[in-house]
Amino acid sequence: MLIISRHDEERLGLPQVLDACRCYSPQGRRLKAKRAFYAPSDRSALAREFDAIELLIVFLNEHPTDVRRAAVTLGRFRDLVGTLSGLEKRRPLEVTELFEIKQALQLFRELSAMEPLLHAASVEVTAMPEAEALLDPSDRKTSGFYLYDEYSPRLAELRRRRFSVERQMESGDSSQRESLLAERASLVAEEEREEAVVRARLTDALAAYLDALKTNFSAVGVLDFRLARAALADEWGAGKPSLLGEGDSATLENMSHPVIKEDLRKRDATFVRQSVSLPPGTTVLSGPNMGGKSVALKSMTLALVLIQLGYYPSATASATPLYDFISYSSDHLDTTKRGLSTFGNEIVRIRDDASRARKERGLVVMDEPCRGTNPEEATALVGALARFYGKQQGSFVISTHYRVPAGDGIAHVRIRGIQSEALDVIASEGIPESDRDAIRRIEALMDYRIERVEGDASVPTDAIRIAELLGLDGDILAFIDDM
């Protein structure tokens, strides 16, 4: 289960990443939109997904033309939920619905011939020649559909008679016109009644194939969704995640955040990939201002969320146990509608996460909890949380500026940041031309790598230096010195 508010999902970049996973068929899109969460009990199902995606990545690199062809076929599928429901209820299908089924049957046949692709995707799509024959009684091999004369000798006869009347109308004198029109109208009415009989008969005959149709449509969705995830993983250069047992540490190597990476690329900056290990218990992430703590937290959370949604994460290698739930919270401002203050909401969230973590193995991620609280009490609260989760079976990851003492089950990691000598170098380069220039200078010297810290991590103290570099008023800086 994911416990992430809509706003936090957006901050995490989850909707954008899922949008980038492009399915071609309505069946694939529906499967994707379900957002199935693979809990620890679904481990073998998830392993099957990853095995198929692994084979598909190889396949799409070796046979790009076949994949493009499959994408075209998948893109021609239509959403037949209403039609299949009609078939299930034995509602006589409309001609357009029969056409839709005929088209789908042809597409199943096309896909069933793509054996290597289906094999790689571990999906079975079967041709249904008997059902196809029902909708193509004279083996015309055309893609269109109408109620053919072959379905009913009576229908054929009525149509012949109508045609004959129309011929007379075209060539005969106008005095007979009214009677011919009346005769034609009567034949048309009879034809409609016979067509209804034919449609009912065809519906009954097709109902025998309902289960096979459903199985095929479901397989199309699986194929499409797996192919889309494989393409995304290939684009990211992602490695296949290993699924570990309970109690193991989650590790992510060379992870990136696809959305932030793309934003950086647009302004000619590079995303520095990071590696991190999250053992059970508490992991405290510290680092300087502008050091990218929030980005690191987002990257690791997004990666682990994606794994449990059946996607490869944007990391060259990853290994993780499966969590019962993943909770991520970064801002509580948007939850004030419940009548609680920002702090009240935050505490409610902390309370609920803690209660859940006592019963289940979760991954709880908080970006700078208690940031709006007085530092003394906030330090106590954050320290207590670290100790509480240090004893739980799941993992608790926080970024914070508050000091968290070392203790059992509490690991400290930090973003390396900028060496103070480097800050002196920036200062010596003179006044930046613009805020953008100043930010660029700081970013250029920032070491974004995450390193493990043994024992108690010292709290970074470069906030005032960075404020100075960004041109904070000199009087304010002087007052800071006085204090």
């Binding site: 409309e94 269109g144 109408y146 109508r162 129309e166 016109r177 034809e191």
Partner: protein, 363 residues
């Protein structure tokens, strides 16, 4: 001679160049002008041509229904023969009494259902309920050409503020002037002359057309585009544009953006008296070109046209239309008819385009 004999399929074939014409829209001076009757005559003419051609028909919105759902009067039905293609909504298919083979479901959805492309497997009456926007009509034509590359694509179009059916969409346009659309023949003649003026407007110069097209491509949501010359030689043209959901109701916004050195203004949408009200109250709005996407986008009164003329504001279009024929229909709204000769004379006296009266279509 402008007035051609009645019931002459050859006349239609020659006047419209049906042998080689790729697409055609039929637009009327109003509701019940007689477009369907003209369409049936056209279909009959194509059937009798020496060179066999497949027709593909669609409509802008609903047409061909037994009864006019607006006025309640009986309407002529559309009769298609075996082999013809049609693009109509699924909801209309069961109101067609022909056998229709479904070839494509287009994914274009309308109030009457998804638009299907079908082929007539028998002759029969059909109800057309085509797409309501120009882009979707173009998609339907593309589907039809995938099936029959050389088909004659006919759009039974409406002339209304919402539904474009003209320049850029089809090669030619037929205007149907119906006695039902005006209280008197004199007024019908005035209305027809005004429509002809708009439908035969020239296109703007190539250089300006190119700039407008570039701005439209870059800013698809910008519906007012102003051109001005930024030097005295007039060689350098600068474009400005306004993001607007519609030009209707935005007359003041457009007028506020107007500058006295503007030389051309393109309004993408229906250009009405109300839209121009604020511009016309600005004395600097003179000596320029007012441009619409095509001639069917102008809905201006005679008074507004006169005012524009007095200020040397020329009207022009991005896509010019070919108007090879005007058909008149003597049927009044109450079912009675005016004299065939009278309506022909009334219209012929005010336009310089061939005019004909085809009579009822017995289908």
């Amino acid at each position: 001679m402008k007035c051609a004999p009645r019931h002459s399929p050859d006349f239609l074939v020659d006047a419209l160049g049906l042998d080689s014409l790729r697409s055609l829209a039929i637009i009327g001076t109003g509701k019940n002008a007689g477009k369907t009757t003209v369409l049936n005559h056209l279909l009959s003419a194509v059937r009798q041509m020496k060179r066999k051609r497949v027709v593909a028909v669609t409509s802008i919105g609903l047409d061909g229904e037994d009864e006019d759902i607006v006025t309640g009067g009986a309407k002529p039905r559309i009769y298609l023969t075996e082999g013809a293609l049609l693009a109509t909504a699924c909801g209309s298919l069961d109101k067609c009494d022909a056998v229709i083979e479904i070839l494509v479901l287009t994914g274009i959805h309308t109030a009457t259902g998804e638009i299907a492309i079908g082929r007539m497997r028998t002759n029969g009456y059909v109800e057309l309920a085509g797409p309501s926007i120009a882009r979707d009509v173009a998609t339907c034509e593309r589907y039809c050409r995938e099936i029959e590359e050389d088909c004659l694509f006919i759009v039974d179009g409406a002339l209304s503020r919402k539904s474009p059916a003209g320049g850029g969409l089809t090669e030619s346009v037929i205007l149907v002037a119906g006695a039902a659309n005006a209280p008197s023949l004199e007024e019908l003649a005035i209305e027809t002359a005004r429509q002809v003026l708009f439908l035969t407007l020239p296109s703007v110069e190539e250089k300006e057309n190119k700039i407008f097209s570039e701005v439209m491509e870059k800013f698809p949501g910008h519906r007012a585009i102003f051109l001005s010359q930024c030097d005295t030689t007039g060689k350098t043209i600068r474009a400005r544009s306004l993001p607007l959901a519609s030009v209707i109701g935005e007359g003041k916004t457009i007028a506020d953006e107007f500058r006295k050195d503007d030389t051309a203004l393109l309004l993408r949408g229906a250009i009405t008296d109300n839209v121009l009200e604020y511009l016309l109250s600005d004395s600097a709005f003179v000596d320029m070109t007012l441009v619409a996407e095509d001639g069917t986008r102008f809905f201006l009164s005679d008074k507004a046209v006169r005012q524009l003329r007095q200020r040397s504001v020329e009207l022009a279009v991005l896509s010019d239309l070919s108007l090879p024929l005007i058909c008149v229909n003597p049927m009044r709204r109450d079912g009675t008819t005016v004299e065939r000769e009278d309506i022909l004379e009334a219209i012929i006296s005010v336009v310089d385009v061939p005019v004909c009266e085809l009579g009822p279509s017995f289908v």
